[in-house]
Structures are given as C-alpha cells and as structure tokens.
C-alpha cells in the first residue's frame, strides 16, 4: 500500500480486515483511524467487522481432530489400495 495519508473506503476496509488478524502496520492503523473519523460508512463497517470477529472467536471452534474412518471403511479403503498395487 502506498504512503499517502488519505485513503479511500476500499483501502480503509482492507486495513480494517487486516487489523482483525493483527496484520495491519502502525502506519496503516493511523491512516485507518483518520479515515474512520471522517467516514461514517467505514465507521459502521469497522464496528460491525469487530462484532463479526468477536462472534467468530467466541462461537467458531477448530474442527475436532478426531475424525476417523470406521474399521469397515478402512478395510474397504485398503482393499481398494491393494487392488491398485497388483
């Protein structure tokens, strides 16, 4: 992103999205803060984006890592593999 201080809404939302993942730089955040001060729509986007982040952090969880093939599926899978070996 360029060095200019005045950014448009497209750029502002991009910084806002990045900052949800703590990937916005200090300078980007400065520009965003100023933009939010003068732009109501982005202000709304930013507030709601933060809510989306909170909802996701609270309610979306890592997939269980204990998915398993059933024994029967494994047997079938192994048979399919073995067929290919010959």
């Amino acid at each position: 992103m360029s060095n200019k201080f005045f950014i448009n809404c497209d750029e502002a939302t991009a910084i806002c999205d990045k900052s949800q993942y703590k990937e916005a730089t200090f300078w980007e955040k400065v520009k965003l803060t100023y933009h939010l001060f003068i732009c109501k729509k982005c202000g709304t986007y930013s507030k709601q984006n933060t809510v989306v982040t909170k909802v996701c952090n609270k309610h979306l969880h890592k997939c269980e890592t204990n998915h398993q093939f059933s024994e029967q599926e494994k047997t079938e899978l192994q048979e399919n593999i073995s067929k290919e070996i010959e």
């Binding site: 729509k41 709601q48 996701c56 073995s82």
Partner: protein, 189 residues
C-alpha cells in the same frame, strides 16, 4: 549420489497407519466428510503411482501429506475457477470520480448499538454456523483457515496457490457476507 533410504513404503498398511491422519488434515480444509474421504483415497492412489519417486528420506507419512497437499490445491483450483476468481471486492466503485468509495446499496447500515451487542448468547452459535455454511466454498475454506485455524497469510497462499491480495479480497468478501447474514438473521431481528 544416492543416499541410503531411511524409510520404506508399506502400501499394504496405508489405510490402518495413515488414513485417519490424512482425513483430519483434509477435513480442516474441505469441511465435508465424504469429500475428505475421497481426497484421502485419491492421495493413496497417487502415492502408489508415484512410488518410484520415493527416496526414503522423508517418512512415509510426510511423503503422503505432500501428495495430499497437491490434491487440496487441485481441488481448490477447481472450485476457484478462473471465471469466478476473487480479484475485486465488488463493494466499491472501480473507476471514475468515486473510485474506491462505497457503492451506496452495498454499504453497511447501522444496527444501532454495535458496541454493546450480546455475543455470549448460545443461540448465536447456530446463527454464525449457518452463515458460515452459506459462504461459497472457495471463500469458506480460506476464511476458516485464516480465522479458525489461525494460519499465517503466507501459509495459506502457499498452500492454495493464491496471492496475498487475492486472499484479502476473499477474506473481505467472506466477512462482508457474514456481516450481512448476521444482520439479517440476528442483529436486526
């Protein structure tokens, strides 16, 4: 030149030894059990075909995972076809005097009290789950890897063969859609 092989392939025990591990790796990416199982099986088949390339330096499992990663990329490319590639965010004017400003009807409208939303509510979980399900698969995969699995941007880009700017456009579209979906199904109710 040839190094001494440290490991050997044992395809006769692949299902027992590696199927579940590969399954779990796949499910965090494709989010669909049947599809994940198919991809695991294809990985084993490709592994068999590529057996002669195995030098025995990496463990059998590491080698299979490297094949699986290709399969996931192939799958992602298929759903993220050129036609629907996310290159622009679609919420902003692309040129002219208002370039980069919100397109009026796509701009968010206020919910009134964003700051004090009750997000603890357990029923909100099913609302957000449904909203995530509504996301197009190609957005969902990137969004979940980034948001839930906490992958680094670079890792996702490498894994799926997309650029960082492409990733942020996808993230924007996903988040904007979720925002809208929560608005309609929850906050504005």
């Amino acid at each position: 030149m040839s190094e001494k092989p440290l490991h050997k392939l044992d395809p006769n025990n692949w299902a027992q030894k590696h199927a579940d591990y590969l399954f779990n790796y796949t499910i965090t990416r494709v989010n669909n059990e049947d599809l994940a199982k198919d991809i695991v099986q294809e990985t084993f088949f490709s592994g068999l075909k590529a057996q002669h390339n195995y030098r025995g330096q990496a463990s059998e499992r590491t080698w299979l995972i490297s094949i699986l990663k290709r399969k996931v990329i192939d799958y992602y490319r298929k759903i993220n076809s050129k036609k629907g590639k996310a290159e622009v965010k679609m919420d902003f004017y692309e040129d002219g005097e208002r370039k980069g400003s919100w397109i009026e009807e796509r701009a968010p409208s206020s919910w009134g009290n964003e700051a004090e939303m009750d997000i603890e509510n357990e029923e909100l979980k099913s609302a957000i789950d449904r909203c995530v399900d509504f996301l197009p698969e190609k957005y969902r995969m990137v969004f979940l890897l980034k948001t839930v699995q906490n992958y680094e941007t670079e890792e996702i880009c490498n894994e799926l063969g997309i650029t960082a700017s492409n990733l942020w456009v996808i993230i924007h579209r996903a988040r904007h859609q979720l925002r809208k979906c929560l608005e309609e199904n929850w906050f504005a109710k």
